[in-house]
């Protein structure tokens, strides 16, 4: 018999990681900018929020957006760096960024060094401490807001500009799109989501330590993102659910967690690069066809035939 509390814990974690993955999907999926250091942004948000609430006794409700803004600002920095670099070198720069951030967490006392920060307070609202199911609802509300933003972005000028840049940078530039600006936006928005997710994670676990945000966590987020499917707002949720649930359902897998991620990534990228519901995947085409009717299906398929 699965206890309700256990179920709530799992669902909360899925919500938090889905949020961080949603951010990664903006950077990597929509804008096509490789980011292999997303866990660092989660960590920046988590530590910002933890330090503000424990050392300065600032309310969670202020610390939460500040965590996002902190990650956002550092995201702008990485975005500026990204302008100068081509894909694979941007990728290794973000790996390096992840290592440096984690090293700073470990080496400076503000971040609690190797012990991390403990006794991070749980948020309260109208005198009620948000625990278990209340906290889960909070996480889901934040996730819903993020998804709403994502939905708005997909159909906005911003989303179109990002996609145009991903397809062909030079063409986008000649169409009058400020490529540099949008690349920085892609990074900083992706980082903002990660920062908020970090804050939610810190106040959920109530203790955090540098190793919670290492490079292997970035790989986990990457697996969620690619497994769910790039350029789809539902992809991150599906990806996060599978990656977190699988080791819980098949207990023996828990011990082979990293091996599982690795195999997932290799097989997916080789045989199913669009993931489960990513743009252009089988499910994505079916869903689009269902909502748009027969005619556009044919158009879509023609387009796909042309692409391949």
């Amino acid at each position: 018999m699965i206890s309700v509390l256990y179920l709530i814990t799992i669902l909360t974690l899925i919500g938090i990681y889905a949020l961080a993955t949603l951010g990664l999907n903006i950077t990597m999926g929509y804008a096509g900018q490789v980011n292999l250091g997303q866990a660092a942004f989660v960590g920046i948000g988590a530590f910002t929020s933890a330090i503000l609430t424990t050392s300065y006794h600032i309310s969670f409700w202020i610390a939460l957006p500040l965590a996002g803004i902190m990650a956002f600002l550092i995201g702008i920095l990485i975005g500026i760096v990204s302008i100068r670099l081509k894909q694979d070198f941007l990728a290794i720069t973000t790996i390096g960024f992840n290592f440096i951030v984690v090293a700073i967490f470990l080496y400076y006392d503000v971040f609690g060094g190797s012990f991390g920060i403990i006794n991070i307070p749980r948020p309260t609202l109208f005198g009620i401490t948000l625990k278990s199911s209340y906290y889960m609802i909070l996480v889901f509300i934040v996730l819903a807001i993020a998804m709403f933003f994502n939905y708005w972005m997909e159909n906005s000028w911003l989303g179109m500009a990002l996609r145009a840049i991903k397809e062909d940078e030079d063409a986008a530039e000649s169409m009058g799109i400020d490529v540099k600006k949008y690349k920085i936006i892609a990074f900083s928005f992706g980082a903002f989501f990660a920062g908020v997710a970090g804050s939610l994670l810190a106040h959920f676990k109530t203790y955090i330590v540098w190793s919670d945000f290492g490079f292997s966590v970035s790989i986990m987020l990457l697996t969620m993102c690619i497994l769910g499917g790039l350029e789809s707002m539902y992809g991150p949720i599906i990806g996060a659910s599978i990656v977190i649930l699988l080791p819980e359902i098949f207990r023996p897998l828990a011990e082979y967690r990293l091996i599982t991620y690795a195999i997932f990534l290799i097989v997916l990228l080789k045989y199913m690069p669009q993931g489960i519901i990513g743009r252009g995947s089988y499910l994505d085409r079916k869903i689009r066809a269902f909502f748009k009717g027969e005619e556009s299906t044919r158009k879509e398929e023609d387009q796909n035939a042309e692409d391949s």
Partner: protein, 289 residues
């Protein structure tokens, strides 16, 4: 004071040995396929374990080195054939992620097979130690440096002076043209991976012998430091890999000796890499396009 400067230089050169060997392998493979071969560190790691097993069964240092190098070479070529060649048309970050996943897979498999705990790897050779003008050096260190650097120099000469090495460099310019000129491209790619991986395996075994332990995460630092070195050296430049490896190892060793741990060594290396990438995206020794 003077002797400590020399001592740190020696330590730096020792530290550099593995950077140079790994970066050389990365350079010749990156040069040809334009793939950042992170899994190279997994090859290095498995080379060390295969060498260790060979040593446990045969008790021979030479056989251990040979088996380590051969085993690593086979793993390297297998990775290239199974994963890299079919993915050549995909964007570079896809192959990079595949390579990172392969590296994770190789280190986790090593951990599951041999255990997470380090294994002692002490060879039976007696160790003599000398103090020359305040600088301490021992026979094991000399053996380690002699083998790693002569193998590295061998690979360097192979890549820049022999017909086959030069043909491989020609591939870097243009695979299609090389094909039409009758160059057996696939065989050349195989050989480059074979040579690079054998060098990685050999240095893996030697690192195990020199530090007297091997552990499943010994590849982690090497995996990403190797990248730092080829960025320093300017992607694909062979002499750049050697100089870059030496610069990194020696500066790390001085930094720690004289400034203590401001940042962990690994973070320091990445910081240098990012700064160089921003200021000179083509690397220190690379030519701009």
């Amino acid at each position: 004071m003077y002797s400590s400067i020399i001592q740190e230089l020696l330590n730096g050169i020792t530290l550099s040995a593995v950077y140079v060997a790994i970066a050389l392998g990365l350079t010749i493979t990156y040069g040809i396929l334009k793939i950042l071969h992170i899994a190279h560190a997994g090859v290095y790691l498995w080379g060390a374990y295969i060498g260790y097993i060979a040593y446990v069964y045969t008790g021979s240092v030479i056989l251990s080195l040979i088996f380590g190098a051969l085993g690593a070479a086979l793993i390297g070529v297998a990775i290239e054939r199974v994963f890299y060649i079919p993915a050549l048309d995909s964007p570079p970050h896809i192959t990079l992620i595949i390579s990172i996943a392969l590296f994770t897979l190789l280190s986790e498999l090593a951990a599951k097979t041999f255990g997470y705990h380090p294994k002692g790897f002490t060879i039976h050779w007696p160790i003599y130690s000398w103090t020359i003008g305040g600088v301490v050096i021992n026979s094991m260190q000399i053996f380690f440096l002699a083998v790693v650097y002569s193998a590295s120099i061998g690979v360097w000469l192979w890549a820049t002076k022999t017909r086959m090495g030069l043909a491989s460099r020609a591939l870097i310019q243009d695979i299609e043209t090389a094909k039409s000129m009758g160059v057996n491209v696939n065989r050349l790619i195989d050989i480059n991976f074979l040579v690079g991986s054998a060098l990685a395996g050999l240095s893996g075994v030697l690192v195990g012998m020199y530090y007297t332990i091997i552990w499943p995460h010994m590849g982690d630092v090497v995996a990403y430091k190797g990248l730092v070195v080829i960025v320093l050296g300017g992607f694909g430049s062979i002499i750049g890999a050697i100089v870059g490896g030496l610069i990194l190892g020696i500066s790390e060793s001085y930094l720690i000796a004289y400034f203590g741990n401001i940042l962990p060594r690994d973070a320091f290396a990445f910081l240098i890499m990012i700064i160089i990438l921003i200021l000179r995206p083509q690397g220190l020794f690379g030519r701009s396009e």
